[in-house]
């Protein structure tokens, strides 16, 4: 046991040092492509770190989000905005001042903190013991994180779903483009390059896509017993669709996936989650009180968790798809109007 802990802390130190090293490298790099790649690696390492710290659910999410989706989005964006950072650096002194003050304050604050892993730290003695000891009787789900997330603090999770919904709507507000029917043929020619170049890639990916979707379903349902849940499943499902878009082009994907429908599903997910709460309200309990959903409290909890996880999954998957479609669609729009936008930027520079 002792040796295991030693190894754990060694891995801990190595991973954290890698994180610091990458962060420093990001500061120094001027090539935005490299920065984005490093940010992806940063996500991967922090997720490995979360595993070492026993936070498997968090690692799961960070893997799919920090290393996957956010890297992908940044990549799409730098293709639209150019990949070098200008070497100008203004107000480094102010920055250093702010940074040193906040950093110093935090370091000052650390000296009274409980040490890493201390058993008698307040957080291990006050609220958490009930989650660990009682959740099996009260909620009946082996994954305590799921129990807390979906039952004890279901409202936070509702807020989280609304946040992601807001992000989807925000991106829609900022990037959506009114399309005309006749534009599709032009788009096809832009999208073709991937088709012809990478036959092998296409075939392998075609095999992968159904598998990824299946895996998403597994994550969705297995969330009660292992790491995973609606959010992670949603992201994985969305990434299958994204893979499809990457390989077969946006216009093909648009034919398969109706944009309006996706928006409706996103809205539906939020509504569905909320309705679970409303139903328990009507059954005489408090909002999100699953105990009243069924005659047996535990069965009620199970039902409630299952339903809200579905709501989360729907919203997250469709919002991720909305976000990606809008980014990719905007890129396409820019390519079509390439000359026009060049003119605008020239005009701006000229003035």
């Amino acid at each position: 046991m002792k040796r295991g802990e030693l190894i754990e802390s060694l891995i801990n130190i190595v991973l954290l040092s890698l994180l610091v090293g990458i962060a420093i490298a990001i500061v120094c790099m001027k090539d935005l492509f490299a920065v984005v790649m490093l940010a992806g690696i940063y996500g991967l390492i922090s997720a490995s770190f979360f595993v070492v710290m026993d936070a498997v659910d968090v690692a799961f999410t960070e893997a799919s989000v920090g290393a996957g989706i956010s890297t992908l989005l940044m990549l799409v964006v730098i293709t639209m905005t150019g990949r070098t950072e200008h070497p100008t650096r203004h107000k480094p002194l102010l920055a250093i001042f702010v940074v040193v003050v906040t950093g110093g304050l935090l370091i000052y604050g650390t000296f009274d903190m409980p040490y890493l892993g201390a058993i008698d730290a307040p957080i291990h003695t006050h609220v958490a013991p009930r989650y660990i000891n009682e959740s099996m009787q009260e909620v009946g789900v082996p994954n305590i994180v799921t129990a807390v997330l979906a039952s004890y603090r279901a409202f936070d999770t509702f807020g989280e779903v609304v946040v992601i919904f807001t992000a989807g709507i925000g991106v829609l507000a900022l990037l959506s483009v009114v399309r005309r029917r006749d534009e599709d043929s032009v788009i096809d020619s832009i999208n073709d390059s991937m088709h012809e170049q990478h036959l092998i890639l296409r075939i392998v990916s075609k095999m992968m896509i159904p598998f990824i979707m299946l895996f998403a379903l597994y994550v969705q349902f297995h969330g009660d017993y292992g790491p995973g849940g609606g959010f992670q499943a949603g992201v994985i499902f969305a990434s299958a669709i994204i893979l499809y878009v990457l390989l077969f082009g946006l216009s093909t994907a648009r034919k398969v996936i109706n944009q309006t429908l996706i928006q409706l599903i996103a809205a539906f997910g939020v509504l569905f989650y909320g309705c679970v709460g409303l139903v328990s309200l009507l059954n005489g309990g408090n909002f999100f009180d699953y105990n009243v959903l069924s005659s047996d409290p535990i069965a009620g909890q199970h039902l409630g968790i299952l339903l809200i996880e579905w709501g989360v999954g729907c919203t997250v998957a469709s919002v991720m798809i909305i976000i990606f479609f809008n980014f990719a669609g905007r890129k396409e729009f820019q390519q079509r109007n390439g000359n026009l936008i060049d003119n605008i930027s020239k005009k701006n520079k000229g003035i």
């Binding site: 990478h198 092998i200 890639l201």
Partner: protein, 122 residues
């Protein structure tokens, strides 16, 4: 008898893990030390998949019960599919976009950064 089997299993597992680690490291050295993209690609592409397979098989032997082995073999399967595909696509994209391999005759105009880096490492 069962005891013996366990020891043998442990031994084989350790052997696989050792080979995997060795391949890993050789790939890592390769990606750092080789002079141009295609040779690095060669170093990684060859060792990466095999190293992953070795380590995963080693792990399977560590804990031969149901779900874990299934998941491990799933990972193995995916690595076997994905890694070569990715390497292939990458090499093809690089070549398609005009990155020339480092051969004697175009050493001069293409490999400036690499050479400098080599000399700096010295």
């Amino acid at each position: 008898m069962i005891f013996d089997l366990d020891i043998i299993r442990e031994l084989i597992s350790a052997l696989f893990l050792f080979m995997g680690s060795f391949l890993c490291i050789s790939g890592g050295v390769g990606i750092l030390r080789f002079p141009d993209f295609y040779t690095r690609m060669h170093a990684v592409g060859v060792t990466d998949t095999l190293a992953a397979a070795m380590i995963l098989i080693g792990l399977m032997l560590q804990n031969p019960d149901g779900l874990v082995v299934i998941k491990l073999s799933l990972i193995l399967l995916m690595t076997l599919f994905i890694n070569p595909t990715a390497s292939h696509a990458l090499a093809k994209a690089a070549f398609h976009n005009g990155l020339m391999p480092l051969i004697e005759k175009n050493k001069k105009n293409n490999s400036l950064p690499d050479k400098k880096q080599e000399s700096e490492k010295g």
